[in-house]
Symmetry: C2
Subunit: 347 residues, 2 copies
């Protein structure tokens, strides 16, 4: 995952007004998204495909959960690098492929868009600026650079707009308007969470700054963030070893490595799988003295209806992780921008 270089905020990369103004841009995409989806469905959509790699596939994972819960229409998650190999026979001109690349220059996303264009498979995609090479290749191009460089809450918001419009059009989301009203309130709720957790996230960042290895555990619609925070933030940007593992999977191997001094981060959300993560929490607390639980239920998220907390908890978690990332950079003294190899070396 890349960072936007010229995006600077005070309060260690955060300023409420800047954040809110930026995030409010996202809801302005709604009419454009709806028009695109109307057009796609007029031509026929049999299944929904989300394709990405690294950060972008992980931000789509909660969307897969969101969609599968609401529709019997097939939903496929594909690695963009595999999509272009044409392995999945169900992907045809009647599919609708969602792509995402903040920079609009990710090799795999561009290759996927080119592949789909050649095969006549419609694509809807987002990138941060109009000049991005990805833009020219998409059937339904969307430009929106709004977001927090240190977390994926903005990405989730953009994808919720797209996936909800698809579900609504397919007849699977009677509460579309209500969900949209809640989505519009998300920026305020996220800003509140960021401010609420900032001190605590800072303390935790300093507490873990010298840990050489973390286990990260999450389930359901928090799995994407669990996977991404481990790989994109801790591994890529901080060069710290991790093992990310889904809550139910933890008990089939990784648990054996947990010892008193093993650091483990547990991401606890509000979807149907919450008890699977609680099971890990209960176990971990018996063994390790370095258990960190980030529980989205503790965040007020003003303005968000109870019924949507489960859907939106991935964004709540990301609001926390954005603060953690900001402080971790200071605590470790390891800039988030340096890379040994990624976009530095040819491979």
């Amino acid at each position: 995952m890349e960072l936007k270089g010229d995006y600077k905020m005070t309060y260690k990369n955060y300023d409420r007004e800047t954040y809110l103004n930026s995030f409010k841009e996202i809801m302005k995409l709604k009419p454009q998204v709806e028009k695109y989806i109307d057009d796609a469905f007029e031509k026929g959509v049999d299944n929904l495909v989300m394709a990405g790699v690294g950060g972008s596939i992980s931000i789509m994972m909660p969307m897969e959960y969101f969609a599968k819960k609401r529709t019997a229409m097939p939903v496929y998650m594909e690695n963009a690098a595999e999509l272009v190999l044409g392995i999945n026979k169900a992907i045809t001109e009647k599919s609708l492929v969602v792509l995402y690349s903040e920079s609009g220059t990710t090799k795999e996303a561009i290759a996927a868009a080119e592949y789909c264009r050649e095969k006549g498979i419609p694509t809807i995609g987002v990138s941060g600026n109009e000049e991005a090479p990805l833009q020219k290749l998409l059937t339904y191009p969307i430009v929106c650079g709004a977001g927090d460089e240190l977390s994926c809450d903005g990405d989730h918001m953009k994808l919720f707009l797209i996936v909800s419009a698809i579900l609504h059009k397919n007849g699977d989301m009677d509460d579309y308007d209500e969900f949209m009203e809640n989505l519009a309130k998300l920026p305020e709720a996220l800003a509140n969470i960021k401010e609420e957790v900032d001190e605590e996230a800072k303390a935790y960042a300093y507490q873990i700054k010298d840990e050489p290895y973390h286990m990260l555990v999450g389930s359901g619609n928090l799995w994407g963030s669990t996977y991404c925070f481990a790989m994109c933030y801790l591994e890529e940007m901080q060069w710290i070893r991790t093992k990310s593992i889904e809550s139910p999977e933890f008990f089939h191997g990784t648990l054996e490595l947990l010892e008193e001094d093993t650091s483990i981060m547990i991401f606890k959300g509000e979807d149907e799988t919450r008890m699977l993560t609680e099971r890990v929490e209960n176990f971990a607390k018996k063994i390790s003295k370095k258990v960190k639980v980030i529980d989205t239920k503790e965040y007020e998220a003003e303005g968000i209806a109870e019924k949507y907390r489960g859907d939106l908890s991935p964004a709540f978690l990301e609001a926390y992780l954005g603060r953690l990332t900001a402080h971790l950079e200071d605590a470790t003294g390891h800039s988030l921008d340096i890379r040994r190899y990624y976009r530095v070396m040819d491979y």
Copy 2:
């Protein structure tokens, strides 16, 4: 993943005759499987669901690849612990759910079978003995204990029988008879591979016996084995830290951690994604002096037609890994049977 306690072979857990006799049992399931599938399709099958946890979900991953390549019928992979939460709306009485539990006592598999029975969702499943609690809960129960306790090649063979019969019945596998002929030759091919690689696997086991951490990388239909070998064998049975990562994902984070003395195992198969893994191999060899490539293409696999090598390479890889596991136990002096927590402690 559990081990069968009373399964002892000479030649460090391997004896050709025992192995062949055991594996030939698997093909005897063919008429029973076909009868089951005929019955299921008479009642109607709209989609295929494979559900498991830990070892069992990882052995199903190559089957998802195998199926998606051949059919446009929706194929879903579900964690058994999540299946019972009823999240995926596409799973109905018109689904066919494949379950697997060698012992037939895995909590999550039993819960999934119970859930499906309550909801009227048909299940086909395999366990190792008739008395297994899972057996009584399945719509289509299959008993087969044949396999190698140290690898998943036997599990793959059983699942290939089931998934191929489903694809054939659905009109997606014109070459069913030809594939079955090849499958029948698999035990001999695997025995040959085991003997061919044994010395080399032993040498590698002794070479890595003191490594505290391994990266494991694989793609496509080898991903399941990559994930499983890391979690079930290295982590659970050997208490060695790992990070398993899909080849295209490696470049979006984990690569930054690779240094000259980082151990990395690269599993290279023969499916469409081979070049994605080769890309990791090329990169890794520039950085690390501890790169191990296990390339199934190097194995003769006598009797297996060229056109099926890609499909069957997960079993080829497992033949190697079975030998590696056997020797690793000796090399590290850490028995594969001891656990700190799994089935030792309540959680």
